[in-house]
Symmetry: C2
Subunit: 231 residues, 2 copies
DNA sequence: TCAAAAGTGTTCAGCCTACACCCATGA
DNA sequence: TCATGGGTGTAGGCTGAACACTTTTGA
């Protein structure tokens, strides 16, 4: 092949991003999905997605799609992997990059989501999704579990101020198993990455639970000295 | 946007695969790289890569590219991640899926590789590569370390029959730190996933080291009962 | 006063780490 | 016989898991 035609002769593909958007509310992990607006499979449940534009980085495409649907920006987002089977999309050959995102539902624009036909569904109530989107979801969940075990990303799902019972509840949801109250508290506090506040959260008990805030500066400093977060 | 034009109006992209090909020989981790044959940057060092064809899955593209360059098939290969910056390739806008592969160098067709201008280089002697290929390499190494810690993929880099000193040497190369001889042996043998052979490898000592073979059936059976491999 | 969730310490077992000497054999 | 790498066991410290009662306070 001559040099000039190396790029010119190569086939071109539709490239999409699909977002697996996790949230945490009322003690449950949730997923934001929409009803598809185009054929084929119009009206079916789907992850939030869109095509990568010319001269737009794929990361930017994912951020843009998420912002357009939920109004949220500056959130935790990470590439999962790319789904490239030739027949995965029944409408055309589309290569799709899956990204997963962690959202603080409380800070999220519910109205905008509604306008786009988006809904927060409990993870246990997710219906059949189009194409390979259920596979994407399952792999995203697995990745979330792997990642959350050694990185402090759980905080991305909680409000800025949270209680220890709330935090424990989150990890119980992620890993689908009970965690010992005392051991959890001991482990987390021993890391010395939480700032204890004077406020209490009385929404779930009469006694009230102390609120904490994740101290990223402290975490970053510790990390530079070999500290490794682990749940 | 009307339904019919949903796919038709979307932009199309060049999509490539690039392979980070690891091998292990003479006690050292090695990487297979080639000298680029096309402009821009003709002659510069590059990962092995190629374009994804029409109606070809991206996984298949990676397998094909690797086979065409090295003659090897049926090897361990896994998607790393996709590099999608708009300007990452200076020749054109190309979205690239990186795959990393583990090869038994001894079973590999050196002649075919030579014909393609491919070379096995010691990991510590890798020159500057084109585009973002050094980033791909570094991320692949990190992934290899993460993956090898909890999955028995190290065996993919060794001959079918190997000694424990050889295996330990491999992990010392991967993690770049010495491993205690006795503790390593104890841990590996305790897993009960190796078959001890009657043969010895006398190439590195007069006493000779017993050869072992990875028993995948045993490993799979154990895994189903909750066993987790860990180095 | 009582119900309901928050908060608190200790013990035990298992695992990881550190560490030094004998063995087998070809040269 | 000797140099070289292969092979072996134990003791101490640390970490993770199990586990029950007291505190607070609004209703």
């Amino acid at each position: 092949m001559s040099h000039g035609s190396f790029y010119a002769n190569a086939p071109r593909h539709l490239v999409a991003v699909d977002c697996i958007i996790f949230g945490f509310e009322d003690g449950k992990l949730k997923l934001l999905i929409i009803q598809r607006k185009v054929d084929p499979l119009e009206g079916a449940w789907s992850l939030v997605g869109g095509f990568v534009q010319e001269d737009e980085s794929t990361d930017h495409a994912a951020i843009r799609v998420l912002r357009q649907t939920t109004g949220i920006r500056d959130i935790y987002m990470e590439q999962l992997r790319t789904y490239g089977d030739a027949n995965r999309d029944t409408g055309a050959r589309v290569i799709s990059l899956a990204y997963y995102a962690l959202i603080r539902i409380s800070e999220h624009d519910r109205m905008l989501a509604q306008e786009h036909g988006a809904h927060w569904l409990n993870l246990h109530q997710i219906p059949g999704l189009i194409f390979d989107h259920n596979t994407m979801l399952n792999e995203a969940l697995e990745r979330l579990r792997d990642k959350a075990k050694f990185h402090p990303i759980g905080f991305e799902l909680l409000p800025e101020k949270f209680s220890l019972p709330q935090l424990r509840n989150l990890y119980e949801e992620i890993y689908q198993r009970p965690l010992d109250k005392r051991n959890f508290r001991k482990k987390i506090l021993a890391m010395d990455i939480l700032e204890k506040l004077d406020e209490k959260d009385k929404s779930t008990s009469k006694k009230g639970a102390h609120l904490y805030r994740f101290d990223r500066k402290k975490y970053d400093a510790l990390t530079q000295h070999g500290f490794v977060f682990e749940i």
